[in-house]
Subunit: 223 residues, 2 copies
């Protein structure tokens, strides 16, 4: 197909396709004349994937490049697929040494079998750092530990289902499913959590009542 | 305190403090001479919050400004706190009309009480769009609906705990806890999920075996 057909198939402007070609994210087509090239079904699939990674996943070009490299050269073992995909998708979070220790402590407490250099440890450390700085004394009765443990329980449930759904027939397919599952399911999870929060808030606080202490301390109950 | 003390307290460079002052994220200090100003404890707290929102939360300046505005002018009812915080934190996801319908259908199926203009509906629609485009036929047996429902169950569990933890004594405090809970707990959740995935993967696939079909179809089991 021509570049215009390719662009239409994936739903991106021709200029964007040319940009991905220049950046090497998309391999060149087969030249049919000095100014025209022909593209294949594989080009269309890859372009759709790039569009999804960049558009829905919000990945940077650098992260997209790393993901595509992982797809082109999948690791030899299925277990390494998860680590490779996570490394490719890892952002630029930073964590203090103390926060990293805290992250390792969480992993040890839950008995998780995780590589000591897993990039998500840095993410977890940064999140712990931020929670202490941002919530501090507002963390409530169960404190940081209670909060983290509550979230860890949900994470384990999700992860069991995620990993059970990874096809074990080929590393190529496994990488694709793990990458897509990470990039696409993270926004799904966050959107569902916000919607469920709104519902839980409607049930706890009611939708019309003031239900809030006034500055002088008097308080009206939801009717 | 002077600007240098303020910067040290919040752990940001003086240049960054000056930038936040210029951008109006941080209110001006009290002038003590033509070139010096004095800052208060309230400045230090706000600066720490900005650092957390931008640094850990990865918020843009625009989103940070919206969040600070919500904090300065909290809504009248506790239920509106969640909606206001989510609106302030909302990114720039876009969803097709069909995907938005799909998102509303998910909300209706779970009986969630959600405003028809909730910004997370757009996020959910974009995530559904991406899942179909990115995973398509790799979605497996239970399909998109089974996957979304599995994630919705976890989202409800998390949201119940989140909303139960919102203090109901003042809308100011409630906004702070909801904003921090959204910005700081989302990275926590994603990091924990990735770590739990690595653990589940180690248990399912083993850590050293090849455990993958070779291109010719022969397969070695984990030993």
């Amino acid at each position: 197909m021509r570049i215009s057909d390719l662009a239409r198939r994936a739903g991106v402007p021709v200029g964007t396709v040319k940009y991905y070609l220049r950046e090497g994210l998309l391999p060149p087509g087969e030249l049919t004349s000095a100014t025209q090239a022909r593209y294949t079904e594989a080009h269309a699939e890859r372009l759709t994937l790039i569009r999804t990674l960049v558009g829905v996943g919000g990945l940077s070009l650098t992260a997209t490049r790393r993901v595509l490299a992982a797809l082109d050269d999948p690791p030899a073992t299925l277990h390494d697929v998860v680590g490779t995909a996570h490394a490719a998708l890892h952002g630029d979070a930073e964590a203090s040494p103390a926060a990293l220790d805290g992250a390792r402590e969480v992993v040890a407490r839950h008995g998780w079998d995780v590589r000591p250099d897993a990039p998500a440890l840095t993410d977890l450390g940064a999140a712990l750092d931020g929670l202490v700085a941002g919530l501090g004394e507002d963390l409530g009765g169960a404190g940081l530990r209670g909060l983290v443990d509550r979230y860890a329980v949900a994470a384990v449930e999700l992860a069991e289902g995620d990993v059970a759904a990874v096809p074990d027939t080929s590393p190529e397919l496994a990488v694709r499913v793990v990458v897509a599952g990470t990039v696409l399911l993270e926004p799904l999870l966050l959107a569902l959590r916000r919607l469920a929060q709104e519902d839980a808030s409607a049930r706890r606080f009611g939708k019309t009542s003031a239900g809030v202490s006034s500055p002088t301390g008097s308080r009206s109950s939801p009717s």
